[in-house]
Symmetry: C2
Subunit: 226 residues, 2 copies
DNA sequence: GGCGACCCTCTCCGAACGGATAGGGGGCCT
DNA sequence: AGGCCCCCTATCCGTTCGGAGAGGGTCGCC
């Protein structure tokens, strides 16, 4: 396994007396344990100023109140968080802060999409703590950060698990199946007629080798979809 | 929302010199970030000696090598870990160490089963860092620890969503639903006629609050059945 | 231009599903 | 004994599925 991308500390660690130019980071995560530990670590070991928020609205409020951060870390699974939409929302806030996602489950495809949208980085919680400080500095400098081995599995999964053989509409229909909806409900959600949904459902059955909607839903779940 | 528990520096950080009678804790977790941060926190704020392991075999090897710990923390989701079996395995090792689980997903029913098996505690990762040190000390004293509100939802869920309200036949029918089988197939598997299966299916819908077989299958999966 | 995708709409039909209702049978309890 | 729960069987009916046709539409690419 390759060494993940990290930057050289280049210079000595700041003493805990922070210079006026020290980094300011906002950490938004509902896991108190992780959040508190991160604060302690970044502050004591990295000489980085931190603030925290337990959910997305708090984080947004903090930024809109005028606080300026070099970097904002968002947990992808916390109250108020809606995946990449929330990421874009925070990035669009005034202040021009850079935003990175931090994830426990670590979905490589989401990592790629986030980086594609301009996220500052994607930090799996499996990241060694030492790498974290480097990553934070790296991202605050305007670079994008993600563990290399992490993205490598992303490409492997992008071809393999094959939910990508489905068309956009078929994926949307499958999403409805997983939710236990009827064809009629799915049709309403998608703004099309029921026969159309039935067609999409039928074709996606063939693609994923299912014989009925329940099997299709279970297969989608197994694959980690939705 | 309450002020999140943040580590109040309250005085100076302990110098790294520890008392001889301090507690020794082994932390086994594959999340480097969390693990490193926990170490730093427990050592600096709690005056607790720590060792770490990135997976279950390493932890077991460390104990079998003769290391003595007051408490062992095991992540329920890490390499080599097989739920409660691994918990019992570690508890059975020589040394008589007490073992607690630490979990990110936080399944109340697993918490209760773990405590029933004699685990020292069950720590969700949503636990505030300040509570953690108290919990560790508490468990090292021989008590069992689990967050109260956590177990309260456990009881609520134990009575509520539990599949145990289903009769034997209904459970067997539900098993067929999860497999994506038709009523006719289920009937053949169970050795009964199709109308009977339809009745079981219908009644179990009411019990688990589903409206069709796909929803029932998903609910069963959510609950960890099959 | 033609070609191949993906998408949408519609019809037809047999099968399966979801729900209600009405029985009969065996245990287990008071 | 009767009462209760669970299991099994059955019939009826309206809806939904699953599968098959046969169209027409928009793209992008050769």
């Amino acid at each position: 396994m390759l060494e993940q991308s990290r930057i050289a500390p280049e210079g000595t660690l700041q003493p805990e007396r922070r210079a006026a130019a020290s980094l300011r980071v906002l950490i938004a995560d509902d896991h108190d344990l992780l959040r508190d530990a991160l604060v302690l670590y970044l502050e004591s070991e990295g000489g980085i100023e931190t603030e925290t928020a337990p959910d997305l609205p708090s984080a947004v409020a903090r930024i809109e109140a005028g606080a300026v951060f070099d970097l904002v870390l968002l947990d992808v699974m916390m109250p108020g968080m809606n995946g990449l939409d929330s990421l874009q929302e925070v990035m669009a806030l005034r202040g021009g802060q850079r935003v990175a996602l931090i994830s426990g489950t670590g979905s490589p495809e989401m990592a790629e999409r986030a980086l594609g949208l301009g996220a500052a980085g994607y930090l799996p919680k499996t990241l060694p703590a030492k790498s974290l400080i480097n990553a934070v500095r790296f991202m605050a400098m305007g670079e994008q950060y993600a563990p290399l081995d992490f993205l490598r599995t992303a490409q492997a999964e992008a071809t393999n698990p094959l939910a990508s053989r489905l068309s956009r509409r078929e994926l949307e229909a499958l999403k409805g199946l997983v939710a236990g909806k009827s064809n009629k409900e799915i049709a309403r959600d998608l703004g099309v007629t029921e026969p159309t949904v039935k067609l999409h459902v039928k074709t996606l059955y063939r693609k994923i080798d299912a014989h009925n909607r329940t099997q299709a839903a279970m297969i989608a779940r197994e694959a980690g979809l939705f």
